[in-house]
Point group: C2
Chain length 201, copies 2
């Protein structure tokens, strides 16, 4: 998601794999229990590495958290792009986000969005990374919308990029409501209502 210069020595394939294992384990734990609710020891155990490995790959907890942010942003944007390139992207997109919400019952909320509240006010680096992730995400949606716009399938007086931001915002808010309600209902309502407004059915 961001240039990985300034790296520790250099990273053999194996090392990269271990590092990735740690990041993935951390991502899962953080999604389930929050940043503050996840200890390095838990991550260590989940990733099945031994003590010093953590500090071999990450200077401190913040650095690990930032790697997690990167990882989540990358994963999400890749998925979203995949869904949005298809023929009628909006339908595919809707299906994707709704089934995702239903599957987890919105537990943990959006893997990226739920980090905002936890990091924005106490880790500037992480905040910037999340912001960059959202930028790319919005751009991905914007790309999808532009082709629809060219086909005249969107309200002509609304800029696709503005609509992309709106879609993303609603998606995030819907996730938030669903997370706090422990139910996918508000999520479905918000997403479907917005899409109805946009496409006119």
């Amino acid at each position: 998601m961001v240039n990985e210069t300034s790296e520790r020595p250099r990273l053999t394939p194996k090392g990269a794999l271990t590092r990735a294992r740690i990041v993935e384990a951390a991502a899962a734990l953080i999604h389930d229990h929050g940043v503050a609710g996840t200890t390095l020891e838990e991550v260590r155990a989940a990733a099945d590495v031994s003590g010093s490995q953590m500090y071999h790959y990450f200077a401190d907890k913040n650095e690990l958290v930032q790697a997690v942010v990167d990882y989540q942003a990358e994963t999400i944007v890749k998925n979203q792009r995949q869904a949005l390139v298809s023929a009628n992207g909006m339908k595919a997109w809707r299906k994707m986000v709704i089934t995702a919400a239903k599957r987890t019952k919105a537990k943990g909320g959006c893997p990226l969005g739920s980090l905002v509240g936890q990091l924005a006010e106490c880790d500037p680096e992480a905040r910037a990374l999340i912001a960059a992730g959202f930028d790319q995400w919005a751009a991905a949606i914007g790309d999808g919308l532009r082709s629809l716009h060219a086909d005249g399938k969107l309200p002509p007086d609304i800029a696709p990029d503005d609509l992309a931001v709106t879609l993303l915002a609603t998606l995030q808010g819907a996730n938030l409501l669903a997370q706090v309600n422990r139910s996918a209902r508000p999520f479905e309502i918000a997403v479907d209502t917005l899409l109805t407004l946009v496409t006119g059915e």
Copy 2:
């Protein structure tokens, strides 16, 4: 926001005032630095009370946090209702939320919404309180929309309550994006785009 039975002994007016002072100080600090980033000692100093007062009014930190949730929910819903009762509520509402976002540059995000990510996965009581707050909030918006709907000023095929959830979701998501971007721009875009879609200008 929720029945305050199960209270410590009983509370004289003065006591209630002190308690409120603590809650308000805690609310401000938590909004600025997050729950984990706020210590009881900081709250104590900000509220200008002495050590034992904290434990006189709150059994532990969680209880204080929950009081803060209550306080924020109550404050917000009251404000929102006020804006929404006016003649053309939507305009007043829009103005209110946008100026609020601009004033603070979205720092801290929504006082209620930003708590979700921090508490939903580690404090079930707080999660429930936030959910209740959002319910009331959605209801308030729904009330405002119903009168518009009766006047035929909304798309007739969309239920006002669904629209209320959507509006609230977008508002939350917009706050999230603005918070992480340290800019009110995404907020304005999302809110205005949605309102345009709803009212057709």
